[in-house]
Amino acid sequence: MLSNPLTTVYHTLAHLGCENAQGETTESGTVDAIYDEFTDRVVRRVSDNKQMTYWHNDQMGAIEASELLERTDANGNCQSWSGLLRDCSSVQGINADRIRVMPISIFDGSVLVKNWQFIDPPSGSGSHPYIIGTDAMPQQGIPGQGNANPPPAFNGHWIVRYDDSYYDPSYDVAKITGSDKDKAYEDSAFAGYGASFGSGARGNDVSTNTTSEVSYTVDN
């Protein structure tokens, strides 16, 4: 252990942390080394060696890490996976936060996780002119933990923040670091937004002169 644990020490939390961060002497090095274990999308529990999954069979499963470690189907949503990485860090004495990522605008009701196809010209009008199922079509998504094609849209997404970096343990994505990480994470993860009213959608504005259209809130 790098330091005294800050949370309940479940066997899997200690195992994932100690095995992957062996020899690390810094907090950031330890968190990065633990996250490496998540990026191949095969993470197993110690108790039954079962691979844990993300939205397996389009089912939410666990919301908290403790439930992900306990459920017989070992399946969970992004909150449970973010909780798992946070708690692996906490067992090493490192404070990381689970972060809720949601659209800022009241006109955006959902985040469309990559990948989506927007077909021009859109058949609708207004701020969300692409009609979902008609000219806004979900494509093969970014692979998730034990799931090659997770659901394409959510009300929001939960990730982990440690120091100056965002980590997304639900998917196979690199950590995002730096002062522009809010915008960088948004552009790396979301293809667009579903409308709050009606069935329209719009693409994410990825132009460099814009700010992030999602909020980042601590939600441990």
Binding site: Q59, M60, R100, I132, G133, P151, F154, G156, W158, S199
Partner: protein, 158 residues
């Protein structure tokens, strides 16, 4: 002796009637205090319908109560929901969902949501969420506790 026997026979009946009367009273209070009403919910949950508590819904909800388990406790920095609109917003902010609950209703001070636990529309309360009025704890249940199978096709409108 016969009079005594009659009194003994009547006593349990009286107790049952009183109990039912009390239950009816509680239900009447519950209905009176219910926040169920036809409102148009917004955002991600715009397709979630607030329904009144009919006998069929009552039976469905009663059958899932034993399968409910606590899945999330939200810190005190957030207000506890008092109405079905607030409960819907509370759920939206604190659970990552791929598809909104199809219907919701209030029953005896508890807000029940059908669906939201899969990427498809679930109207029959076979899976869902519950939040006690005035509390920040979220309960859920699945079709089969622990192992949830595929319930249907993905909904087309997130």
């Amino acid at each position: 002796m016969k009079k005594m026997h009659t009194v003994i026979m009547i006593m349990p009946l009286f107790a049952v009637v009183m109990a039912l009367a009390t239950e009816e009273g509680n239900k009447a209070d519950s209905v009176k205090n219910s926040t169920n009403r036809a409102v148009q919910l917004e955002g991600f949950t715009r397709s979630t319908q607030v329904i009144s508590l009919d006998q069929s819904t009552e039976a469905k909800i009663a059958s899932v109560v034993p399968r409910m388990r606590k899945v999330r406790e939200v810190g005190e920095t957030v207000g506890a929901p008092q109405t079905i609109e607030e409960a819907t917003d509370f759920l939206r902010k604190h659970v990552s969902m791929a598809f909104p609950p199809a219907v919701c209703t209030e029953r005896e001070g508890v807000f029940y949501f059908s669906g939201g636990r899969s990427a498809s529309r679930i109207k029959d309360f076979s899976s869902g969420f519950a939040i006690v009025k005035g509390q920040r704890t979220i309960y859920s249940w699945d079709k089969v506790v622990g192992d949830a199978g595929k319930e249907g096709d993905r909904g087309s409108r997130p």
